[in-house]
Symmetry: C2
Subunit: 328 residues, 2 copies
């Protein structure tokens, strides 16, 4: 393990009690001078680390910037997601970075964050505005043993994890709009883009891209989407701690992904239904040239939406754009 | 257009009548000396080109080796498939080459052949033995406007195109085994591997890999598959012209793909059903840990197999391994 991960984990576990240079040096198998060098380097990156003669090193404050080592330090024992975390200052698209690394053997569960994306993508080729330092723009490599037709389970899982994390780290009460938007007060705060490399009967790998508008100022959204998009900070009325939220999302994802791999999608599916603002609504779903209108009744075991049409037929919808139908 | 494509097309169109150096030079907008240089180069590549004082140049024979320019020359006006054809001496996998080129903007319908593959793949991560100079190992880039759940249409289409081409270029009568094997006399002569880059509700691009055991000697097959695999030459009793067969397959694919894009999958689906040795049979289909047994009844509009189980339920099968059940 990277020494900075070990030092930050040691400091975070010690808390106010402090961690002595001697103890950290022993844990890392290096000299106290080497520990001091690493601490100095962390200070240069914005970590406020107090050195007390009695208590040793105490971490007083962390920067809001994302650091892969620190995120790994905050996740003590991930089963899969978060074992490898990399942070880029800027990329075109974190999904593209992970896709490329996947072909070079990147391990499952590796996560790539970018402080800014110059070519962030949403679903169906749309743009995802990703300004620097105010959001969480990241992608996760998964190699799930799922049939491609069950891939919706991954976006359902991600929406639940993001909603849970927002709820735990803020005072907000997020809702989910099928299939993969997380809303606060009817406006979107997070989106999920799943891209797969698949054969007809197996997923080779999947890249789960997540964008969360954490501290994005309202004026950073293009005017065309201001009525439908917002940020957690705008809704909460104060800035949100990005590294803490990132950690929480990854921890929730890791937990739920392990459940999915154990064949237990029920927990996720049930929670999705409780949180889903789409269920029970009259909706129109546009799927390319086709549209289906009806009442969103349930989610099936593969994460597909079951819509009862006006003719009483239950249609199974795998993907598409949902519009709420206000007339009903 | 590449001058070699133009010269070869001119020679093939002229046939026994011959094409004059002056006419070819005018067509290409170059000097007669330049035409002569290209002809000399083609001769070095194994093209037997007679130079007659009266008739000009006459193409007497072509090598069995694959040349991208010649394959393009043989396909006069492809709608999509075959507009760009590249031949590699050896690659790990033509699917991987196309996948990489796809990300660099390779146009739809581009085809990559390899005389040999060192890491040829079959479905589900299996190996595809691809010895040099005796098979057709190639991949095609498609950007179909299909929902991922309809991707089976592409493999159905490919199986029909390969079966048609074999029938037109040989005396053999191929059959299709669902979803994507082409058989002669109950043994496999060709396989199809479709790999996709997809979101939940759209295919970004698909790589259609096709392997045809044309002149593969029986001893080149691993012993474990000799009872289930054969080659066209072994079945026909004589070598088959590879470039002619390759051209025929691409022409059939181009025609059927245009029909698919025009919303007309019926022609392909109907022909698939006529050729399908799986329909009407009692089969067991293994899909990872799950298996379904029953009578293969039909193909639905998305290319899925409809199997009537012993309980009378009609199951829709998207992918899997089919075993014929001989007891029935």
């Amino acid at each position: 393990m990277n020494p900075d991960v070990q030092i930050l984990r040691g400091l975070r576990m010690a808390g106010e009690a402090g961690a002595s240079g001697a103890a950290l040096a022993k844990q890392l198998g290096v000299s106290r001078a080497a520990v001091w060098n690493r601490i100095e380097d962390l200070r240069r990156h914005g970590y406020e680390i107090e050195a007390s003669p009695h208590h040793g090193y105490i971490l007083r404050a962390s920067p809001d910037a994302l650091h892969g080592d620190d995120l790994m330090a905050r996740l003590p024992s991930p089963k899969a997601i978060g074992r490898d975390i990399r942070v880029f200052t800027e990329t075109a698209s974190t999904n593209d970075v992970v896709e490329k690394l996947a072909r070079d053997g990147l391990p499952e569960g590796a996560v790539v964050f970018a402080e800014a994306q110059s070519g962030g993508r949403g679903r169906l080729g749309r743009t995802w505005v990703s300004p620097a330092g105010v959001g969480l723009w990241f992608s996760i490599l998964l190699r799930p043993r799922l049939h491609p037709t069950s891939a919706t389970q991954l976006t359902v899982l991600a929406a639940v994890a993001v909603a849970r994390a927002i709820e735990r780290q803020t005072t907000l009460r997020p809702a989910i709009k099928w299939p993969n938007d997380v809303l606060v007060g009817h406006r979107k705060v997070a989106g999920i883009l799943l891209e797969m490399s698949a054969e007809l009967d197996r997923i080779r790998h999947a890249v789960l891209g997540i964008g969360i508008d954490v501290n994005v100022p309202a004026e950073a959204f293009p005017e065309s989407i201001r009525t439908v998009a917002t940020s957690l900070a705008a809704e909460a009325g104060h800035p949100i701690d990005r590294p803490a939220l990132a950690t929480q999302v990854l921890a929730e994802l890791d937990h739920l992904y392990a459940r999915l791999n154990a064949g237990d999608f029920h927990e996720v599916g049930d929670e999705w239904m409780r949180r889903c603002s789409t269920l029970g609504q009259h909706v129109t779903i546009h799927m390319g040239p086709r549209a289906v209108a009806g009442r969103a009744e349930a989610l099936d075991e593969d994460g597909a939406l079951l819509v009862r049409t006006e003719h009483g037929v239950l249609e199974r919808i795998v993907g598409g754009d949902v519009t709420l139908d206000r007339r009903a």
